[in-house]
Symmetry: C2
């Protein structure tokens, strides 16, 4: 029976790939995914067969991957981070079911961008948090703002994925405005671009000033809760231990 | 200069450790952590020097780790999952600062329990979610319920860590009651115990029936949002693609 692995390979470098992700990619007959991810992987697995598809063609990419697996191939469908968090795992299961494909599917979890960004910033995720994408391609904008407000109201640390794109330039500012209804403008905020990759850059700012930080779809924004603080250049959310 | 790595080794097996976590543990002069974690690692790194400390002695464990690093040692302080999510990263930075330790500290992120559990259940984390611990050892219970309610109100997928302990037997039921104020009692819920370990067990139930599932501190509970569904034994939260 053909086998389709949905692999999250972590933030991007070899260091943060799991042993299982590496093993699966080394063993696969075909590695497929969004062009940017495939290009990242060629450096580490140069001799593999790749099938790259452009962005916005997720369903087509899944169909192709399922079709290849149906030919008794071992296919690794890859994405950065964790394939189970805003990843391809859900759509792969949906497409395989619709195609009535008699293949085996396995999700290989990876280090998600929130974890990678947090490790760069210090220790901002030591307490309860919400993960919210600011992309409104497939989510009504009203629901996104409602989620940001609820996270603000209940003092959750907030981790924003897809904070900015060419079309969505003001959403981070709006999210910060909503959070400032519940938290001080001085609340520390960490921004990491390309977490865990060679091009990694990070900075720590405040809710009031976060809109000044250059960012894009490769950035992660982590907004502290009311207890978070900055010390020695690190963003820390205390857990409550007595030191 | 001494070096202290705060290492998250993922759910427990070798397969889900990152290349970096493996490399750091192989290279460390000393591996230290809570007894249960140290016992897990001995199988994979049998020849290392270990220092195990019982639970509830987190500050003491950090002091010892910092002291060892101050002797020019390379120390790996380990925890399962991601060391940056409810892990030891925050307290290590706090203790090292209080001790004015002139050492280098680096956090090595890992696959967090939410990711491991999600990969077992299907694809429940395809959309925005909240991660909330039901342990009230260091968080006021009122704040925990407030967070659960806000997550319910804004239709976030909810991932509960530490759902039950010997002392806290009714908290999951209470959390489900709160969520049922906003979501159908038929909302699918996945429970995974020992995700990613040999003893792994999982089941899919509903909000109305989740309190019937045996669980403990090694379990993770993932409550779907209003769009989540179960198909072919998998818990799926759709992202919104047209199939």
């Amino acid at each position: 029976m053909g086998k389709l692995y949905v692999v999250g390979f972590g933030p991007g470098g070899y260091a943060h790939m799991t042993a299982k992700a590496i093993e699966v990619m080394e063993r696969a007959d075909l590695i497929t995914g969004y062009t940017t991810y495939v290009e990242m992987l060629k450096e580490f697995f140069p001799d593999k067969t790749y099938l790259a598809t452009p962005m916005m063609q997720e369903v087509k990419r899944c169909r192709m991957a399922v079709e290849e697996a149906m030919k008794e191939q071992t296919v690794a469908m890859v994405s950065s981070g964790d394939s189970g968090i805003y990843g391809m795992a859900g759509i792969v299961y949906q497409v395989a079911e619709e195609m009535q494909a008699d293949i085996s599917i396995e999700t290989v979890p990876g280090v998600t961008a929130a974890s990678a960004a947090a490790s760069v910033l210090g220790a901002p995720l030591m307490h309860d948090f919400a993960v919210i994408s600011l992309s409104d391609l497939m989510t009504p904008l009203e629901l996104i703002w409602k989620r940001v407000a609820c996270a603000g109201e209940s003092d959750l640390v907030v981790c924003l994925y897809n904070p900015k794109s060419k079309k969505r330039t003001t959403y981070v500012e709006r999210a910060a405005e909503i959070l400032m209804q519940y938290r001080s403008p001085e609340t520390p905020v960490g921004v990491v671009r390309h977490a865990g990759r060679r091009e990694e850059k990070s900075c720590i700012t405040t809710l009031a000033e976060v809109q000044e930080v250059p960012m894009d779809m490769f950035s992660i924004v982590i907004v502290g809760n009311s207890q978070s603080y900055v010390s020695q250049g690190r963003l820390i959310t205390p857990r409550g231990y007595r030191i």
